[in-house]
């Protein structure tokens, strides 16, 4: 069964009616492949939410930016509000697959699928985003840190939809980036990805470092973040933060890279991000 809905209410009704087996499909770039390869059952009904227009688009509030869960990577990549305030989101979506993937794949699908390598997981965690989850019973809001539970596991419950992602507007003096290492520069799943933000006011007053593809879920490294506060991103400070990150991650070997390669890349990404920030701000 393929049930196409155009409102959040209709989607929630369909999920309640069809029960826990029902599969939500947004762009389908993960779901279609999972049904073809058998990791999802083809006998379960699909609820197609791709055309719920109230769940798509980016808006700027007084304290936060709201990104509809159905915003595609292309929407994010070309959005002027995100370009001005949250460039790491723009950079992350720009690296997802190719143009064809970006036109169809959504931020909500990327986050709910919760692959350890999902590119948007790192900026969401770094930016302390809130996920808005709605069911027929009402709405709840979760911090990104509480939403990602493990490899392909999230706090999303049956009958719930992720409708939007709310991201606090960064403090003045913030600089951020998303850097991804793959086997080649396009059409690659991340071997390691880093979303980094430095708030600079003379010296660094706050830092946030969130990685993907080095643990079952996206992770921050608080020790390393704290170690950068008060520094001017000097070479030694960057190297020390890189070492703390390398000892915090727990990557695996897979077909893309070995765990030891991933660990060795981690401090280099920290250095690349910090040096880029230093050359612009410090």
């Amino acid at each position: 069964m393929f049930r196409a809905v155009t409102t959040v209410d209709a989607a929630l009704r369909a999920l309640d009616e069809l029960g826990p087996g029902a599969q939500v499909i947004a762009g389908g770039t993960d779901v279609m492949i999972q049904r073809m390869t058998g990791s999802l059952s083809k006998s379960e009904p699909l609820v197609h939410i791709g055309r719920i227009s109230e769940m798509r688009g980016v808006s700027l509030g007084s304290e936060s930016i709201t990104i509809g869960a159905l915003s595609t990577h292309r929407d994010i990549r070309t959005d002027p509000i995100l370009a001005a305030h949250l460039p790491s989101f723009v950079q992350a979506s720009s690296t997802v697959g190719g143009w064809q993937t970006q036109e169809v794949g959504t931020i909500g699908g990327n986050v709910c699928n919760a692959s350890p390598a999902a590119d948007l997981g790192a900026p969401l965690l770094m930016a302390q985003a809130t996920l808005v989850l709605v069911s027929s019973g009402g709405e709840r809001r979760l911090q990104a840190a509480d939403f990602f539970l493990g490899r392909r596991q999230t706090a999303l419950e049956f009958g719930e939809l992720l409708t939007a992602i709310e991201v606090p507007i960064p403090a003045p003096g913030s600089w951020e980036t998303y850097i991804k290492i793959g086997r080649r520069s396009a059409m690659e799943v991340a071997i390691v990805g880093l979303a980094a933000r430095f708030v600079v006011d003379g010296a660094v007053s706050a830092a946030r470092l969130a990685f993907c593809s080095v643990a079952p879920r996206p992770m921050r490294v608080p020790d390393a973040e704290v170690s950068l506060v008060g520094t001017m991103l000097e070479d030694e400070a960057i190297a020390a933060a890189g070492r703390l990150c390398a000892s915090a991650v727990s990557p695996i070997d897979d077909q893309r890279a070995t765990a030891s390669y991933r660990t060795s890349v981690v401090p280099r990404l920290v250095r690349q991000a910090a040096e880029a920030c230093r050359s612009e701000l410090v």
């Binding site: 389908g28 770039t29 279609m32 197609h48 791709g50 697959g97 143009w99 993937t101």
Partner: protein
């Protein structure tokens, strides 16, 4: 389930299964075999078609999601009298085709690019076709063909 959409300007109505892909519908049910099945997992771009002018991989796109939308395939690029588009002509002239399997997908992606950006930079061209894999040409003839099509349209 019943599906109605526009394919290359013609309204089509047919019955499809929930998991059928747009590629299956275009090739197997409607007999337009210009669109190719390459990897069948959204990686290679051989199956690229335009949905409301945007390039998508039809091999992983649920057919029922095109309800009411306009799909264009490579068959729609030439004029009714068979005259090739500028881009198709340039592919022929610059020998941007070797085995030809990736060509329909590349033409669709590049048609979408040129419709939205009449004078793309070389990095915009490369970025646009990152999801279209060609194992024969090494891409240089393809890039030249795009440049030629741009020059012809602006001439």
């Amino acid at each position: 389930m019943q599906l109605e959409f526009t394919l290359n300007g013609m309204v089509r109505r047919l019955d499809v299964e929930p998991d059928e892909t747009l590629l299956d519908v275009v090739r197997e049910r409607l007999g337009l075999t210009g669109t190719k099945e390459g990897c069948d997992e959204g990686e290679c771009g051989a199956c690229t078609v335009l949905i409301d002018d945007r390039p998508v991989d039809s091999c992983i796109y649920p057919a029922l999601a095109v309800e009411g939308l306009a799909v264009r395939t490579v068959e729609a690029l030439s004029a009714p009298d068979g005259a090739l588009s500028h881009l198709q002509r340039a592919f022929v002239d610059r020998a941007a085709v070797q085995c030809g399997f990736c060509t329909p997908g590349l033409l669709m992606t590049l048609t979408a690019l040129l419709e939205s950006n009449q004078n793309p930079s070389s990095s915009e061209v490369d970025d646009a076709i990152a999801g279209n894999i060609c194992r024969c040409t090494g891409y240089s003839a393809i890039r030249e063909a795009v440049r030629r099509a741009v020059e012809e349209v602006s001439a």
